[in-house]
């Protein structure tokens, strides 16, 4: 396995400068709720503003309202957002994976209906994959879609669906026949569809983005189906690859690190400098690897195994760097602190364990890598 090193071109650096200038103004310190990476706050206004800059759906073709740009350019924008702990929650999933999935697998009608809204930052997608009895073993999905008189009848329960209450659409995986893998099909379910009930599940830090979604005799037209009947597993796997390969897998801690590095806590403490230096060295390497992966994506390859290989290490390092920062704090940070940075650290301590679960657990990623190595 080999990741070819790369650097940013002059145009890419110009984009980086533009994004920085815009965000420095749009997200002035203290004017927005700080977030940890992709779990940033949901702020539809911010997403619309970003969309009007052309910075959502960048990798989608221009004819569908996208930017017609590259995965590397998207990465540049995302790096700046995550560095600031920006409120990316509303558009995150649509921008990262749903848009591309719809572009590759959707009908012409679905593309025209949904992609421009995604790029404008007006549509928000949630992912309905996991179920009470289907976690790591996603092929155990049991929620059914049955074709009756030309419409699909959906019954079942999805769980751990992030941001389902604020999403405009849910992209769900349902069972359409018994075949373990070829019996699964993806559907796009609009918010407000009768028979779909969304109930928040309070998360460990008291936030309410985690949801349970029940489908009770929900009726969907065939035009809600994404891709062929039985093609859901393959589409879902490609989506997971997009979900695993990005910089969001090592940037959760970035706003905290950015703040900590500039504080007197580090400037005046040799032990803190030692830990910060160690974090810097490793993140510099992960950044290089993510950029190589983005270039591979732009060359038309999707490096599924490489993405898993980086995610497995980088998410564990996020947790390790949290421990390193925390050991210089000297007391237990409070979630309710008036100091937003202290509250953010407290939140990171609480939610940190989820970084190696979401998007495929460490153990499952190891299996993906191991199988990939045997195949090569």
């Amino acid at each position: 396995m080999n990741l070819v090193p790369t650097t940013l071109t002059a145009e890419e650096r110009a984009l980086q400068a533009d994004v920085r200038a815009y965000l420095d103004e749009r997200l002035a310190p203290g004017t927005y709720p700080l977030g940890l990476g992709m779990a940033g706050a949901v702020d539809a206004d911010f997403s619309r503003d970003l969309g009007s800059q052309g910075w959502i759906g960048m990798a989608l073709p221009a004819e569908y309202g996208g930017g017609g740009r590259t995965a590397v350019e998207r990465q540049i924008v995302v790096e700046e957002l995550l560095t600031r702990g920006a409120p990316v929650g509303f558009h995150w999933t649509a921008d990262r994976q749903s848009g591309l999935n719809i572009f590759h697998n959707g009908t012409e009608e679905q593309r025209r209906e949904l992609l421009p809204g995604i790029s404008r930052g007006e549509l928000s997608f949630a992912i309905g994959m996991s179920e009470p009895d289907a976690g790591s073993d996603l092929a155990a999905v049991r929620s059914r879609a049955v074709l009756e008189d030309g419409t699909w009848r959906i019954d079942g329960t999805k769980i751990w669906t992030s941001n389902a209450t604020t999403a405009t659409h849910l992209l769900c995986l349902f069972r359409t026949s018994e075949g373990r893998h070829d019996g699964l099909t993806q559907f796009i379910v609009p918010q407000g569809t009768p028979g779909m009930t969304i109930a928040p599940i309070p998360f460990i830090d008291g936030t309410r983005h985690f949801c349970e979604v029940s489908f009770d005799g929900v009726r969907l037209p065939d035009s809600a189906r994404l891709g062929a009947v039985g093609a859901g597993w393959g589409q879902n796997t490609s989506e997971l690859a997009l979900e695993r390969g990005g910089v969001d897998r090592w940037m959760s801690m970035m706003p905290l690190l950015e703040h900590w590095a500039r504080s007197a806590d580090v400037r005046d403490s040799v032990p803190a400098q030692i830990d910060l230096g160690r974090i810097l060295a490793r993140l510099w390497v992960y950044r290089g690897m993510s950029l190589s992966i983005a270039r591979l994506v732009d060359s038309g390859v999707f490096p599924v195994v490489e993405a898993a290989l980086v995610k497995e290490m980088a998410t564990q390092f996020e947790q390790e760097s949290l421990s390193l920062v925390r050991r210089h704090y000297g007391r237990t940070p409070a979630l309710t602190s008036d100091d937003p940075w202290e509250a953010l650290l407290a939140q990171a301590i609480l939610v940190g364990p989820s970084w190696t679960l979401r998007g495929g657990t460490t153990e499952i990623l190891r299996t993906v890598i191991s199988k990939g190595l045997i195949k090569r």
Partner: protein, 341 residues
């Protein structure tokens, strides 16, 4: 990276350091494949042809070092090519057939008014059996001395390769010049050692993958156990990561201190993690001198052990970050600040 060079030299390395033989203890330079290596001019890769070198880019040289690491080559590839480069940078003439080493330990050398030199060069790989040693004197000038003019204290590194300490008292220097610095020599040597480690980790990963598919316990190959797979995955991660770092450093021979320090730190940590996992996956056979693993893991200790304490490098990187306007930009940007003391 220059896979052309790697392909062209594959046969030579395979013949000189066969991958199906145990990795033995090393001896004086003349008893290693060095003469063949030097006959091909490989000891002068990265030195321009118009300066009597063999030509080739810095990326070519990094590829050569990666290959040497993959074969656990028991010759001073890094020391010879860095010494030759430093000498030419200092404006001095190269003697193409001479073998060269450099000190990797704490050294001190004084140049007297009569152009003789005195001092100690510590940990010079193959120091007593090379022709010349290139070192940076205390005043910053570059000095070339004959190894045979030294009093030698013989030593070996953890991989069983010679690394001798040489004492000079008022010996005539072969040449004295100026134009490079101890810092530049160190950066280049560290980068090349990162490439050696990358090559060795690639070999360790391949060795481990093969072993776990062949060794049977409880009625199946041990690679069928998830706990063993976790070791295999971790070793491959360390190899991919170190290779990515080496290839990144190879992009530009104007090596930046911050990058070299980060690369050195990560490489040293990764090498230890991989060595531990590889030994764990191999069980007792990996601890024997007949099996190849030890030839690599012992070299990892040598190749990551010199040129500064990791803890001090971390501190300097952290101190540098603390004085920059943005931590994130140190990771994301192309422009590099100086590494603060």
């Amino acid at each position: 990276m220059t896979s052309d060079l790697t392909a062209a030299l594959g046969d030579f390395f395979a013949a000189a350091w066969p991958t199906d033989a145990p990795i033995g203890e090393s001896g004086p330079l003349a008893e290693t494949p060095w003469p063949l290596f030097a006959d091909l001019g490989l000891h002068l890769v990265g030195v321009p042809e118009d300066r009597e070198g063999s030509g080739g880019t810095f990326a070519d040289l990094m590829a050569l070092a990666t290959l040497a690491g993959r074969h656990a080559s028991d010759i001073p590839v890094v020391e010879a090519t860095t010494g030759a480069w430093a000498l030419v940078e200092a404006g001095l003439p190269l003697q193409p057939m001479a073998s060269i080493s450099i000190p990797v330990g704490a050294s001190s050398l004084t140049i007297h008014d009569d152009q003789t030199v005195s001092g100690i060069l510590a940990d010079v790989p193959w120091g007593s059996t090379v022709d010349l040693v290139v070192a940076i004197a205390d005043d910053g000038r570059t000095v070339v001395v004959k190894a045979r003019d030294a009093t030698v204290r013989h030593g070996v590194d953890l991989a069983g390769q010679p690394r001798d300490t040489l004492t000079f008292s008022q010996v005539a220097a072969v040449a004295i010049g100026a134009g490079t610095s101890a810092d530049h020599v160190r950066r280049r040597a560290v980068a090349l050692r990162v490439a050696l480690v990358a090559g060795a980790l690639q070999a360790i990963s391949a060795l481990t993958r093969r072993y776990v598919s062949e060794r049977v316990q409880f009625g199946k190959p041990i690679g069928a156990f998830q706990a063993v797979q976790a070791h295999v995955v971790q070793i491959e991660q360390m190899a991919v990561m170190c290779t990515a770092v080496a290839d990144r450093l190879a992009l530009d021979d104007d090596l930046k201190d911050v990058d070299v320090a980060a690369a050195q730190l990560v490489t040293a940590e990764n090498a230890l993690v991989a060595a531990r996992a590889a030994h764990q996956a191999h069980g007792a056979i990996g601890m024997t001198q007949e099996y190849r693993l030890q030839g690599y893991t012992r070299r990892l200790h040598t190749w990551t052990g010199d040129f500064g304490e990791p803890i001090d490098l971390s501190r300097r990187l952290g101190n540098t970050a603390a004085h920059e306007p943005s931590f994130a930009r140190l990771i994301l940007d192309h422009d590099r600040p100086e590494l603060l003391p």
